[in-house]
């Protein structure tokens, strides 16, 4: 079965083709990052305006990449939520009309299920059950995944998502939007010993996390350093970035290990944009190796939002496909309410 996947929930337009026999055949992505950078953040209306310009060209590119035609498709999967309502509607409209015209069914996919299952597109891939650390600009959650559609939230951030904390802190340090990835690069050259920032909720029994206080701690550190040194020089900025990253990584690693311990599971799966962070990967790998645990990541190109994970999740939920017709989107949608396929 050949499934076309369409992702338009935020600021990335992703389209992909997944074949249940042959695997991922093609995947095309357009990121709007540069467009939103001028505005200092994602502007939902502009995101929607861009999705509608990109969707069809990306589909054409995907079909060409895979050497397939529309006639070969068996179903169309699209992100039904959660995400920006207007942006979701673009993908949903194109997907449903395309499927309607082709006379094939549609599958409305949960964006986070897409992320959760994306490590299954890697080789080797994890077996169920596993603990999933979903960490991106919009989400930071630890989940017990017993199978497809069997998700249990173990803990989550009570305020900012980890990726959001990266971006907000970067902005505070004067880095251009979206500053998260640049903050990480600067952190690599920073001194981990010079400054120490708090690790919120690190020793709490709960698996919940909190990152908004960390941003405030950075602000205080910046103010104090400016008072003593005058301007923040390049070295100091790198050292602050490092201190911030050390704190976030330690919280994520510690909570992930705690989740594995609590569930008795042996496998950790990391998904979402922050899952591409080198220091986080190194921290998790080291900690896991020491304890005989395994860590799985999606292919690096599939850490951000993408169409491949939607095509894949759609393919795993073909039993729930429905004829294209009346449709809607779900800007808010609780992952734990998903049925088993």
């Amino acid at each position: 079965m050949l499934v076309l996947g369409i992702e338009t929930s935020c600021d990335e337009t992703g389209v992909a083709l997944y074949d249940t026999e042959a695997g991922l055949l093609a995947h095309q992505l357009h990121t709007q990052m540069a467009m939103h950078a001028r505005y200092g953040g994602v502007v939902p209306e502009l995101a929607s305006r861009d999705h509608i310009r990109r969707a069809i060209p990306l589909m054409e590119a995907c079909l060409a990449e895979a050497g397939r035609t529309l006639k070969d498709l068996d179903a169309v999967a699209y992100t039904r939520g959660p995400g920006l309502g207007g942006a979701l509607l673009v993908g949903a409209s194109v997907a449903n009309a395309l499927a309607f015209g082709l006379g094939i069914p549609v599958v409305g996919v949960h964006h986070l299920e897409g992320h959760l299952l994306s490590p299954l597109l890697a080789d080797p891939k994890p077996d169920f059950p596993f603990v999933a650390l979903l960490v991106s600009g919009g989400h930071t959650q630890l989940m017990a995944v017993h199978g497809i559609g069997q998700y249990e939230i173990l803990g989550e951030t009570l305020d900012d998502a980890a990726g959001e904390a990266f971006d907000k802190t970067a902005k505070l340090l004067g880095l251009p939007y979206p500053g998260g990835p640049m903050l990480s690069r600067l952190a690599e050259e920073g001194d981990p010993q010079r400054f120490t920032l708090p690790r919120p909720m690190l020793h709490a029994d709960s698996l919940d996390m909190s990152f908004s206080g960390l941003k405030t701690a950075v602000l205080t550190l910046v103010t104090q350093t400016q008072a003593t040194l005058g301007e923040i020089d390049e070295t100091t900025r790198k050292d602050i970035c490092r201190a911030f990253q050390e704190a976030i990584v330690e919280v994520l690693v510690t909570k992930s290990l705690k989740a594995l311990r609590q569930t008795g599971m042996k496998r950790l799966v990391v998904a979402g944009g922050v899952g591409a962070n080198k220091q986080l990967r190194a921290g998790l790998d080291t900690a896991a190796a020491r304890r005989g645990l395994e860590v799985f990541y999606p292919p690096l190109s599939l850490c951000t939002d993408n169409g491949a994970m939607i095509a894949y999740a759609g393919a795993m939920r073909l039993s729930q496909r429905s004829p294209a017709g009346s449709f809607g989107v779900a800007p808010r949608w609780d992952l734990t309410t998903l049925p088993r396929p």
Binding site: R38, Y39, G40, V43, E45, L46, S48, R49, I52, A55, I56, P57, M59, E60, L70, G85, G86, L89, V90, G91, A92, S93, V94, A95, N96, A97, L98, A99, F100, G101, L102, Y177, A324, G325, S326, F327, G328, V329
Partner: protein
């Protein structure tokens, strides 16, 4: 020509299908339920007309201006339909359809509510748009000098403001308030609107400034 036309720019779902002779229409107030209602209604309409999507010559859609989300649902549906059946798209401005629906010759002023206290407006002379569709406050809406026909829903929404401006003017108000899909079918057949592949579909927002850039936000704070 065999055509399907759809307009989702207002709180109506407006669909029309023609086999070149007969016209089949579906025009229903759906509020914001365009996504829920459009394809099932289209399916019934094609069945009624005895036409398969693949047998059509083009897909016509109301390009805008209008509700941003509505416009994108319409354009997205049109793109998906056209792409699936390898058909060209014909995008037609919503105000062109309203002007055509008046059936009036001479000068027609079409003014549609644009929310935020503004209107989208254009003047038509014998069916042809003079200049571009603009965005105006009702107070600054340019009015034709000579006798004209007034169409569109701006009158309803901004009646108090427009009444003052229109007093003593030689105009004739019509009850054409919003675009209907059947009007697009006629316009698409006149050959003035280009056919484009689905990947080149455009939405006509008119209101293009929707957010402040970071530097503008900064300037506003200081």
């Amino acid at each position: 020509m065999k055509l399907v036309a759809l307009d989702t720019s207002t709180d109506f779902l407006s669909l029309a299908v023609t086999d070149g002779e007969r016209v089949f229409t579906h025009h229903e107030r759906v509020g914001q339920k365009h996504a829920e209602t459009a394809l099932p209604a289209l399916s019934r309409l094609l069945e009624e007309a005895g036409l398969a999507l693949s047998s059509l010559d083009a897909v016509v859609y109301g390009q805008g201006p209008g509700s941003f989300t509505g416009l994108r649902i319409g354009c997205g549906l049109a793109q998906g339909l056209a792409f699936s059946a390898n058909l060209p798209l014909i995008g037609i401005p919503t105000l062109d359809a309203v002007a055509a629906q008046t059936g009036a010759s001479g000068t027609v002023l079409v003014a549609m509510d644009a929310r935020m206290g503004q209107v989208y407006a254009a003047v038509y002379q014998d069916g042809r748009c003079q200049g571009a569709i603009g965005l105006f406050s009702p107070e600054a809406l340019p009015l034709p000098e000579d006798a004209f026909t007034l169409a569109g829903d701006a009158w309803q929404v901004h009646e108090a403001l427009l009444t003052g401006r229109l007093t003593g003017r030689p105009f004739n108000r019509t009850d054409v308030l919003r675009p209907e899909a059947a009007a697009y079918l006629k316009l698409a057949s006149n050959g003035h609107y280009p056919k484009r592949p689905a990947r080149e579909a455009e939405v006509l927002y008119v209101r293009d400034k929707v957010a402040l850039t970071a530097s503008e936000q900064q300037a506003r704070r200081t």
